[in-house]
């Protein structure tokens, strides 16, 4: 299953995810992200640097979390996409929908400005 580490740097919520996000593991990610969104943090950063595979169920999970954050005007951004994961976003044109940063550090710096 996935390894999901949650921290709260500077009032943002940072979820560092590692493993393969597929039909089997995406419910675990969904549960973690919706729980974070329920706390209405001003920003959620999902760092995918440790994610080596992500399919359409993973995308669906991220879209759902993005939409939940939007309900309370929270920011929801991604970081650390490996090439094989970025290509899935590009194929679905979701690279134009999500804010994507090279690293969680970059994301947090941008969100603090």
């Amino acid at each position: 299953m996935l390894k999901i580490d949650i921290t709260h740097p500077n009032r943002a919520a940072l979820a560092a995810v590692a493993g393969e996000v597929d039909l089997y593991s995406s419910p675990q990610l969904r549960s973690a992200l919706l729980k974070l969104a329920a706390g209405k943090p001003p920003a959620i950063v999902v760092d995918l640097a440790g994610v080596t595979y992500l399919d359409s169920s993973g995308l669906a999970t991220l879209i759902e979390a993005l939409q939940e954050s939007a309900k309370y005007a929270g920011k929801f951004v991604l970081s650390g996409l490996r090439p094989e994961v970025r290509s899935v976003f590009e194929l679905s044109r979701l690279d134009k929908v999500f804010e994507i940063y090279d690293s969680s550090e970059d994301a947090l710096i941008h969100l603090s400005q």
Partner: protein, 144 residues
């Protein structure tokens, strides 16, 4: 190059999709695909397996999904077979990507990535043939 390949069978449970991904990834390596193409083909097949689990077998565990990988002189063929519910052709259209919503992307990936997507259904069950032309190959002949 001789025709060769293998067949694996998994139960209809999401935790076993990774077994198919590993096998297909290796088949792509044997076929000489660049890593990016192998990753894309693996994604397409994984989406097809997911569709069988969720739709053909309605999420019920314990049913068989057979995956045969065959490398011909011109292409890599992946045949997925199940004995679940027949797919409704009306639901087999990729959705509009301008709609941002969860769900519905699997079919888009399959049709975008693979060179051949051929679904057949009959008395012996459902068959989905996915194929990707090998690097540098011409269009396959009818005999392939």
């Amino acid at each position: 190059m001789a025709v060769d390949g293998f067949t694996i069978e998994i139960p209809s449970e999401a935790k076993y999709a990774k077994v198919v991904r590993g096998a297909v990834s290796y088949a792509c390596e044997l076929g000489g695909f660049p890593a990016e193409t192998g990753q894309a083909v693996t994604l397409a097949v994984d989406e097809a397996v997911t569709n069988i689990i969720r739709h053909a077998y309605r999420g019920e565990p314990g049913h068989a999904i057979r995956v045969t990988c065959r490398i011909t002189p011109r292409r890599l063929e992946i045949l997925l077979q199940d004995r679940g519910r027949k797919a409704d052709p009306g639901t087999m259209k990729p959705r509009d990507l301008d709609q941002v919503r969860p769900g519905g992307l699997g079919l888009h990936f399959i049709k975008s990535i693979m060179d051949v997507v051929d679904y057949q259904s009959g008395d012996t069950g459902n068959q989905l043939l996915l194929a990707k032309n090998l690097p540098g190959s011409r269009e396959p002949d009818a005999q392939d």
